[in-house]
């Protein structure tokens, strides 16, 4: 079992119960959640937060952190706006031990200076490579760049690609898209191909004919897609109508279960591979998934299978590992948490994502593996494993740098 899954009888610290501190009254640990819970991005914020909650509900049922301390979430709505996030951060920072979720790159960066002055730890809810080297941040999962690199590796080795293949990409014009582009650029260097064409689009675009025409015109044989579901649906729909049939590889957030029960499903089955982590939804051979499904059924029966749900669940689990370390060190104060974070070793997620080597920011090593899926409407989440947990040489050697 991974961190926190020991449940009862946790090791506890040698120094006895940690003294109460901000956000910890001796029995309950309060954790902050800053997430867009209303507005257009709530479609991500809600399942993420539900994932946080399912983990902690299950943990509390088993006794709590280190078997003794219940966890309570303080949720605040950020509307995905940096200024609101700053305000909400100020609202709850005096009540919590740490933040188990801050959603969005810009909102996270907006509170980062304060996290540093306040010595606060927070788990950002995005797979940005930016986070890996930030001491005050607790990232989980393999960054987007890793997903792209592994996807390219698969395409080159088993997917029929060569370095002369026309490899293109289509990205959303924001930080998420930039991460996808970075990954592909890195891969291009490693595998010796040039990116034949890059198309950018703004989310909410209504008609993608131009982009699809351009990709088709450039003769793209493979297109790596960094998108979110409604745009991805339209993109694939347009491609299908235009009879454009490249190999599509898409980043995990591009996919939603609805796409496996839509008119474009047959097209996706023929052309598309989704790059994500872990395993198929409901795969009970993987402990992490088995637990997740069981706990979701118990604590969030109305929740649909969702990547973001799993992501939030993993975040909560990583945070639990930090908290248990802090309890072990006998200090749940902010200093104590930061100290615990620095001393934290490898945390296992039981196969939901690969193990993450935490510790001091310079020494962290995020998971380097990805899983490739194909679309299959018969599966609960509509995805079937094509290649489980691969981690390419290129991904393993990818270096994470500190942000400027």
């Amino acid at each position: 079992g991974g961190a926190g899954d020991q449940g009862s009888g946790g090791s506890g610290g040698t120094g006895g119960a940690p003294p109460s501190t901000t956000g910890f009254d001796g029995t309950t640990i309060k954790l902050g959640v800053l997430s867009p819970l209303s507005g257009p991005v709530a479609v991500i914020g809600l399942p993420l937060t539900a994932g946080n909650k399912i983990w902690f509900d299950a943990l509390n049922q088993r006794g709590g952190v280190a078997g003794k301390y219940k966890v309570e979430l303080v949720q605040e709505d950020t509307q995905y706006r940096p200024d609101v996030t700053v305000q909400q951060y100020n609202k709850v920072k005096g009540n919590v031990v740490a933040f188990t979720q801050i959603l969005g790159t810009a909102p996270t960066l907006a509170v980062l200076p304060q996290l540093k002055t306040d010595k606060m730890l927070a788990a950002p809810a995005s797979l940005d490579a930016l986070w890996v080297r930030e001491p005050n941040l607790l990232p989980v999962g393999g960054p987007y760049q890793i997903q792209v690199i592994n996807a390219i590796d698969y395409y080159m080795t088993e997917g029929g690609g060569t370095k002369d293949s026309k490899i293109c990409n289509m990205i959303q014009d924001d930080v998420y898209g930039e991460a996808g582009l970075q990954g592909l650029q890195y891969a291009a260097g490693k595998y010796g191909f040039t990116i034949a064409n890059t198309q950018r689009y703004k989310t909410g675009t209504e008609n993608f004919t131009g982009q699809i025409q351009a990709l088709a015109g450039a003769g793209c044989q493979m297109v790596f897609l960094t998108a979110t579901p409604s745009d991805a649906g339209k993109i694939w729909g347009t491609a299908a109508q235009a009879r454009f049939m490249p190999r599509w590889y898409a980043q995990s957030p591009a996919y939603a279960a609805a796409l496996s029960k839509s008119p474009i499903t047959p097209y996706l089955q023929q052309t598309t591979i989704i790059v994500a982590e872990g395993t198929e939804w409901g795969d009970d051979k993987v402990t992490g998934m088995k637990d997740l499904v069981a706990r979701t059924t118990q604590f969030g029966p109305s929740q649909q299978p969702d990547y973001y749900l799993a992501f939030g669940y993993n975040q909560a689990r990583a945070m639990t590992a930090v908290l248990e370390k802090a309890v072990e060190l006998g200090n749940l104060s902010r200093d104590g948490i930061m100290n615990a974070m620095n001393q934290l070793g490898k945390v296992s997620f039981d196969g939901l994502t690969d193990d993450y080597q935490y510790g001091a920011a310079e020494t962290r090593n995020p998971p380097r593996s990805s899983t490739l899926f194909s679309v299959d409407p018969t599966k609960p989440f509509g995805l079937k494993t094509v290649k489980y947990n691969i981690s390419s040489e290129a991904a393993r050697t990818y270096e994470f740098k500190k942000t400027s």
Partner: protein
């Protein structure tokens, strides 16, 4: 050449959607003299209603569209009845702000009912295509263009020939003088809100029937339709259509030739092309292509 024509067709389809939304703006502007910022919200509402009629109640798609338009019209008229009627004779700024307030209300209500998840609307168009001479036309796009054309003709006749059309126009110019002619401002306002909402619903469903499915951010298209309305002239239904098509074509073609012609201007120039075009056109014609000039005499 095929690529060019294909892009043109995409532009027309996109332009039709813009035209429908812009028409909704125009109708309300013409009769009340305000820009209705809630149009995007009504569009989303219409689309979700269409979803409910088509998916949950399993009605034929045509019927679902009709019912959704009707229901949206009721909601639009209801807004007018409950809120906007009280604002007759008040400064237009306050009224515009109220439409913004309505947008703020609509959004959470919609997500409270239908949630945030992407939904697929059951519809007969799907991603079916028709191929003519090497060009591929999406069935949905063809329908959108066709429906827009029908609506536009209806509008033209309505405004030009029906007394209510004239009544709507004069009420915007001078509500009090219109009242003195026995024109019921209440009726005029209610009807224009109903029409605008129905148009929004139609546009909404047409969009939601695509492979992208339906999500709460669907209403954003209303922003993209602003340039369409302005380019055509804010008070001209014909202008809305013309503007919609011009903007749609411009956007699609810039997008299509981004790599060849516009890479110097940064990625994704097509997004701002509608706005740039709008600025250029307004500098030449300050009241849009077909808008009415303000009449001022000293």
């Amino acid at each position: 050449m095929t690529a060019f024509l294909q892009n043109c067709f995409a532009g027309l389809a996109l332009g039709s959607t813009y035209a429908l939304v812009a028409l909704g703006f125009v109708v309300i502007f013409k009769s009340t003299g305000v820009i209705n910022f809630a149009q995007g919200g009504l569009l989303a509402l219409g689309a979700y209603l269409g979803y409910t009629f088509s998916n949950n109640l399993v009605l034929a798609f045509g019927i679902a569209i009709l019912l959704a338009c009707l229901a949206a019209a009721l909601v639009g008229a209801g807004f007018e009845r409950i809120v906007l009627r009280r604002m007759v004779g008040q400064p237009p700024f306050a009224v515009i702000m109220i439409t913004i307030g309505l947008l703020f209300i609509l959004e959470p209500v919609i997500t409270a009912i239908w949630g945030f998840d992407n939904l697929q609307v059951r519809n007969p168009w799907n991603i079916n295509t028709v191929e003519v001479g090497g060009l591929v036309f999406g069935v949905k796009d063809l329908w959108t263009i066709g429906l827009t054309a029908a609506v536009v003709v209806g509008f033209f006749l309505f405004f030009k020939f029906s007394p209510l059309g004239l009544a709507m126009r004069v009420t915007a110019f001078d509500p009090e003088a219109a009242l003195a002619q026995g024109i019921s401002a209440k009726k005029v306002y209610a009807v224009s809100w109903a029409i605008a909402a129905a148009l929004a619903a139609l546009a909404g469903i047409a969009m939601a029937a695509g492979p992208g499915g339906l999500s709460p951010s669907i209403g954003f298209i209303a922003l993209a339709a602003f340039p369409a309305m302005i380019v055509g002239g804010m008070d001209s239904p014909a202008g809305a259509v013309l503007g919609g098509l011009v903007i749609g074509l411009a956007e699609a073609l810039t997008r299509g030739y981004q790599d060849q012609l516009f890479s110097w201007a940064g990625d994704n120039v097509s997004i701002i092309v509608p706005y740039l075009l709008m600025i250029v056109i307004l500098l030449i014609r300050p009241y849009g292509l077909l808008g009415t000039k303000d009449v001022r005499r000293v």
